[in-house]
Amino acid sequence: MAGLRLDTREGAMTKRKNGTPIVPGKLDESLAIARIFAEKPAMRMPPVSSHRSLTPEQKDILRRWIEQGAPWKEQWAFIAPTRPALPAVKNPGWVKNPIDNFILAKLDAAGLAPSPAADRRALIRRVSLDLTGLPPAPAEVEKFVKDRASDAYEKLVDRLLTSPHYGEHRARYWLDAARYADTQGIHVDNYREMWPYRDWVINAFNRNTPFDRFTVEQIAGDLLPNATIEQKIASGFHRCNSTTNEGGSIPDEVAAMYAKDRADTTGAVWMGLTVGCATCHDHKFDPISQKDFYAITAFYRNTTQNPMDGNIPDTPPAIVVPRPEDEKRWLELGEQRTALRQTLDRALLAPSPAFEKWMEPPEHAAVKLPARLGTPVMDLRPEAIALADDVTLGDGPNGAAKALHFSKKAFVSLPNVPEIDADKPFTIATSVYLPKEKGNFVVASQFEPEPKEKPKDDIDRRRGWIIEVGGQGPSIKLASGNDKYLSARPGPDYELKPDAWYNLVFTYDGSRDRSGLAIYVNGQMIPTYGTGEDIYPLQGSARTDVPLKLGNDKKNFFENGAIADFRILAREAAAQEAELLSMWSSVLSGDRKALQTYYLYERDSASRETVAQLRKIDLERRAIARRGATTLVMHEKADTMPVAHILRRGQYDQPGAEVQPNVPSVLPPMSAALPRNRLGLAKWLVDPANPLTARVTVNRFWQEIFGTGIVKTTEDFGSQGEPAVNPELLDWLAVEFRDRGWDTKHMFKLMVTSAAYRQSALTTPDKIQKDPDNRLISRGPRFRMDAEMVRDYALAASGLLRPGIGGPSVKPYQPDRIWETVAMEQSNTRVYQRDAGDKEYRRSLYTFWKRAAPPASMDIFNAPSRETCTVRRERTDTPLQALVTMNDTQFVEAARYLAQGALLSGRGNVDREVDFMASRLLGRTFGDKERDIVRRSYRDYLAFYDAHPSDAAKLLTVGQSKADPKLPKSQFAAMTMVANEVMNLDEVLNK
């Protein structure tokens, strides 16, 4: 049966060697029927070896279908939706908008009646949670309850849709799809600076960016004409994937993995297709072929990104993201800098009589290092020092100055230079000869030796600085003990050829920030990146008393290398000064070109002014960059076209036929006018003729609000996915979304103002039987909130929440050793350093997300690891979740804080106190039975804490915030336990 396809009409109804699989209306002639009903097991399909069989009912359906003429319809999701007519319903009075026609028609058919409308308190709580992810404040509840205007609910919805928390809440779902996280994901799992992308998503939802633009900017913002910083940030969507820098990795394999991830993600998020199923080979039932799959990956195979992430936070391509108020100035400075640099370059080429005159002796003989840099605090004269064994005096780079040549594990020890420290600017300039042999060599250092015994806490307390060079370029590290250091090294693509001399200059501004380090190679600043613990500012001192060592005797010694022109200055050289330092031996030796540069930068008054301006600009740019952030972006290779190879069995080292970028053949083709790159793909995705994007997107919106999508398999609208439970409704919503300008807020408003949404969550045995999972929406949506909402709810209801929008990710409470247990020693996300103060109480979408160990309490509540795209979270109820909300410091502190508010507001009246809690946690007051239960609980807790005052005191110290010392401790502790009890209610944990 090889080659047989039963998923296409053509395949099923075309005559083959043994017969025709399906002949409409003719059972006897249909080979499929003969095989399915075959007596002999060996002949029967499906074969025994598949461990699958058809039930008699299934066989009967097939038989009847062929008898009835085998009507064939293409997979519904691949045909563009049209707006269906509104179905008639038995009770039109119930209908508030077209959604309700579709819902009610299904309920009518199922013999179910809608539930009564939810009461106002339940409704405002539900809609606040759905639109902002936060519970309503008690005052908002009361206002809504009292508002008797006919449009009271609509006004409420409009207000919530303009809340900045709306964007946060919507972004939270999107970030799962974007697999956003704060670490690289694989192996070392270092910090990655990506939060500007997260903030872009929040802002895009708050601004109600039309979904087509939202799509194009994220898939291809960088390819838009004159792309803005914002659009480039948006393109970070496909830089959120997990990356690696594991030693030994094979770049081709890793690149294939990234392209697959990007194709899979694009498929799941926009197309609702699990395209990656075809990675290894075609599946007969799957409309996406292997060729289709690799054609999608081709869009992502023309990137300038190096597969190895370098373990750095800003793996290129990355951009500086200035603060909004700096953005204009940042762009201006960039332009000015280019213009000034061009002025200098022109001056260098122009004939200059003044220079010629200056060249006449003795003027130029008196060259001096730029005065601004001061006298060098160390100026190596190789001839003047005592040479160690295996160190010889030899030629320097240009024959003028002598150089130290090293063989074996040799070094030269020189007096300590005290001027280098974490808070002091400095410049180290040198020429080095890079040996023929591969390796990474220590050039110079003032670094404390390893202690004889490894410290028990694993903390590297060595201080000092170290300069290394190798085939991957030069690097510098400045350490202040406590495992903390700043470092700068070139990006993963950088290369220095061996067997050559290089002028290296390292500068530092004394800022304790890694952006204060710069490296120049042969006078040109190279882009550098930091690794290690340098995501934090350097604390303490890097001063040591150890001698200055040139070469090295331990690991990475400088065998067969050489050093000349070694200088240390106690100032930070600016770019042009570094350029002069780089060529200083040439200047001294009378090299004409070097002297001309010197003359321009130091003596020519006009050029000196330009140099001074450039220096000012560079300082200002650095300040802006330091205030701002970096973020990863997409960037295409300019000189090649995207292309991919079919990888046999998905193996990177078994490339087959070349494929051009294209969209799956089962879907409408890309218009000829569209470029065959990511931009073309993005525009195709949001083309009105695309049958999937609008459906898949509104289905996800539906899932956010109603708990389950109209198509349950949010990620799979293909033949293996679940069919839509209400296909007409899905199509109506899709067409509405597309034709109303991809207006996201409009869709959410439609959903939450429908009568279907506004039903009470009341469940009856009849409904449980006929609509067990509420797919028909026979009652209001009610399900356990997602991880972030559970935590945010506790923070908001207790009053602890700090509601600011955006910014770097934060590290709230987390149990000890969540990171340490799994991380590699060299990972800069090995030690979890909890933030202090307000950062403890930010919304959970700002919590630092380490992929190898996601936030522990959220992980337990089904938050994904963010290693790959997730468009549908699981929702389980487990005992481990109960432990979180009962015992996690965050929740206990919130209970205590809520209790404090209750006590302060109730002033000794227990009823008032517990009502205060109910209003914040439930949006209502307790019923009599409930109040009685809570009062009894309080009484028992109080009796316990009266008898155990030290336990009361202990409970009140949980969490970093201080308990109000004026409140009586046993009442306070007892009320804290009441809060803990109520916060764990099913009603609280459910939306």
């Binding site: 199923c277 293909g718 336990d951 949980v958």
Partner: protein, 489 residues
């Protein structure tokens, strides 16, 4: 305050526990009343959950303990004796052996591939006469309890994908691991503890090259998260958030749950959502765990003979010996699968210095675990597995001297051992060439190993699948896998 008895026996509680067939909280109640909680737990050994129709056939193994040496131990120093290599010191690996196989980029740039013979000696042990390294004296003592497989092979050449592959059947993360599959298929054998528990043991050599592990290795992938491994931690809360906050003791927690249950019951009566009942039961299970985990981790009642066997190290939380002891206590209490990780085996350099320490970390614990299980009659239906994610190269990475060398990753062969339920103890299976480079007899692919494990648990790997993304996903993936019958008793 009420006396605790009064609290416990309050009217509402009796009402609550009287309802429903599951007898929620009976065990916890028994414990708090001073009854024999253990008796209550062990009285119900039958599995809860699990798939209908599983196991497919009578299982040999009911529980498993998988000791994973993260970083990949060098087979030629431990279990794959290659005496001829002595003569090959610093000679180049013949190209005919390498056959152009791909290398990691850590050594693919090396101009030479000089052979590094093992710096450690071997001897034969047990009735089987298995050759075992001097570095594993305890393992050697139990040569007749284990089957050594010397012909394991994989496709992955880097740790992250290789560990993910051997644990989940796929190099890319996102698939369930063996423990999760077993929890899903076979269900739980206890009501107080998770079905699948993970332990991370510490290593002691400061120069050991440590590889990352992450929660994805014990995740449930596309299976429901309830089947994911639960970390049993050596510091802080043994199970995350298991401990009540300061100032809240068991009685207060019980009282809180009573109030909570009553309130939830009102909610249930009002709304009628069955999920509310599920939540109530999960809170009760949480409470039972709060009672049983401290009992589990409390080693004070272990007799002196336990520490004579495991060594004094076993008293120290987080050591490998301690993890082994904990693994025994876990399976004893009906935990289905215990995964133990020990890191630091990635011996790219300083192998002769680091490896003895790594072996000292684990050797005695392994032996003690197997003997302990045996003496308790648990070994008959507990499968113990020891091994890494791939092998190491016979040639040295970096500089080579008789006493200092390193080895790069080598996917084409590696060794592991298994003991207990249904394995043919006292045998050695598979053979590699004299360079321990290529397999010459009885290769066992990672998939075969996984199929064999499932087989021992009474599961046909071909018929054990989960529909996800339109595919019948299996632990062993889409390619053929074979149960290694010759290593089965």
């Amino acid at each position: 305050m009420h006396s605790s008895d009064e609290l416990l026996l309050s009217e509402t509680r009796r009402q609550f526990f009287g309802r429903g067939a599951t007898g929620l909280g009976i065990v916890a109640l028994a414990k708090l009343m001073g009854g024999d909680a253990r008796a209550a737990t062990t009285a119900a050994p039958a599995s809860v959950g699990g798939l209908p129709g599983l196991p497919h056939f009578a299982p040999k193994a009911k529980r498993g303990i998988y000791l994973h040496m993260v970083g990949a131990p060098p087979q030629m120093e431990l279990l794959d004796y290659k005496p001829v290599m002595k003569e090959w010191f610093d000679k180049d690996l013949p190209a005919s052996v390498r056959m152009g196989q791909r290398l990691t980029t850590m050594t693919s740039g090396q101009t030479r591939f000089p052979i590094a013979p093992s710096a450690f000696s071997f001897a034969q042990y047990g009735k089987s006469g298995a050759w075992i390294s001097e570095l594993l004296p305890y393992t050697a003592k139990m040569a007749d309890d284990i089957v050594i497989v010397r012909s394991m092979h994989t496709e992955a050449i880097n740790h992250e994908p290789a560990i993910t592959f051997i644990q989940t059947g796929n190099m890319i993360s996102g698939k369930p691991c063996i423990g999760a599959w077993l929890a899903y298929g076979l269900g739980s054998m206890n009501q107080d503890l998770p079905t699948f528990v993970v332990l991370n043991a510490t290593h002691s050599h400061p120069k050991a090259n440590v590889q990352a592990i992450s929660a994805k290795l014990w995740s449930a992938g596309f299976l429901s998260a309830q089947y994911a491994g639960v970390s049993l931690r050596s510091g802080g809360d043994p199970v995350l958030y298991i401990n009540n906050p300061d100032g809240v003791d068991t009685k207060v927690r019980r009282r809180m749950l009573d109030g909570l249950n009553e309130l939830n019951q009102i909610q249930y009566e009002k709304i009628g959502d069955p999920e509310t009942r599920v939540r109530i039961s999960q809170y009760e299970m949480a409470f039972r765990m709060q009672a049983s985990v401290p009992e589990l981790t409390d080693l004070s009642k272990e007799p002196a003979s336990t520490f004579d066997l495991y060594g004094e190290d076993a008293r120290k939380g987080g050591t490998f010996a301690n993890s082994c002891l904990m693994a025994r206590r876990l399976v004893e209490r009906g935990v289905r699968f215990v995964q133990v990780y020990h890191r630091g085996w990635d011996v790219h350099f300083s192998l002769p210095e680091v490896l003895p320490s790594q072996c000292r970390d684990v050797d005695r614990g392994c032996y003690a675990l197997v003997q302990d299980l045996k003496s308790r009659g648990l070994l008959d239906d507990t499968l113990v597995t020891w091994g890494g994610e791939f092998g190491r190269t016979v040639y040295s990475q970096g500089k080579l001297s008789p006493t200092d060398y390193g080895r790069d990753h080598h996917p084409r062969c590696f060794s592991l051992w298994m003991a207990g339920a249904g394995v043919k103890a006292g045998t050695v299976y598979g053979e590699t060439d004299e360079f321990s480079y290529n397999i010459v007899k009885d290769p066992v692919h990672v998939r075969d190993f996984q199929a064999t494990m499932l087989h021992l648990f009474g599961i046909d790997h071909e018929r054990f699948s989960f529909k996800y993304q339109g595919l019948d996903q299996k632990l062993t993936g889409v390619e053929k896998a074979f149960v290694v019958k010759p290593i089965l008793a």
